[in-house]
Subunit: 146 residues, 2 copies
DNA sequence: AACACTTCTTAGCCTAGACTAACTTTCGGA
DNA sequence: TCCGAAAGTTAGTCTAGGCTAAGAAGTGTT
């Protein structure tokens, strides 16, 4: 059993602080990932479709996209969809790589595809680079080439 | 490569909706888990210590604990610490079991203990029961009895 | 018993992220 | 061409979760 003893207050605080940082980035990651997916698969990424796929109102998308624009990740051409800046494209690629790795890993470890997709949607934002490396190593040791 | 094709809008929306639900529960889980740990290890759980260990101001703890009280998880005796209700105790036990499982699993998969603790702090809130079952199975197949 | 220190609360502020309702703008088909 | 449906924006509201600054309330030590 781990956690026999409490970590120091400083260590524990640092963990929670970093975790809250990851939480704050999660929305941006999910949005740019979705926008990139839509651009690739559908040719365009409309705010309406984001709303539908995020399970959120259009007004929420407008507000969120506003923040993404403010943060230099997204550009909009009203009535002709959303686009990613260079930074947005890079973040989307990173998010997608992470997402796919986590999904493959969860499946390799015994999860069904549906649950893997569900859980990955949250877990992806909290897996450090070290964790991703470990996941990748695990997959390659299994000869997983999915 | 997974995600060759997009999920249906409904499926994808359901995932994000459930993920947001998990996010909303995360703070409560972390607080009651910490309170339980402090009660067990230190004999009492003071708001100051929570603030220190959560990496947050005391005012934030007051506000958050207020919500936990409203939600029937915590009771307070001013100047003598925080206590868990039956519901709070149950949630804490669940959270701790999940936390420890995730940590052990991440270590088994190749992570160092420090990173495992860090990542578990976020991942624990997004691992479904199915995932936890898979993690446990993985550990037992490895003969892991940590 | 008094006072300093610690603990806790209050007040006031902020941002993200969500909602509904109402409105405006554009697009496409008749 | 024009007009209804679709797309998008705006306004107003809410909660969670943060913060600082200031003050109140216990606690313990002398
Ligand atoms: Mn996600
Ligand atoms: Mn994702
Ligand atoms: Mn946690
Ligand atoms: Mn935890």
């Amino acid at each position: 059993m781990p956690r026999r003893t409490l970590p120091t207050a400083e260590d524990q605080a640092a963990r929670f602080v970093r975790q809250r940082e990851a939480d704050r980035k999660a929305t941006a990651e999910d949005y740019v990932e979705l926008i990139a997916d839509l651009l690739r698969e559908e040719g365009e990424a409309r705010a309406v479709d984001l709303a539908r796929r995020m399970g959120v109102s259009q007004a929420t998308v407008t507000a969120t996209v506003g923040r993404l624009q403010r943060d230099g990740l997204v550009e909009t051409k009203p009535y002709r969809g959303l686009f990613l800046t260079a930074a947005g494209t890079a973040l989307a690629a990173e998010a997608k790589a992470r997402h796919d790795l986590v999904v493959r890993f969860l499946i390799a470890v015994g999860l069904d595809a549906g649950t893997a997709e569900q859980d990955a949607e949250g877990i992806e934002h909290h897996a450090s680079d070290k964790a991703l490396t470990a996941f990748a190593r695990f997959l390659s040791e299994r000869g997983d080439t999915t």
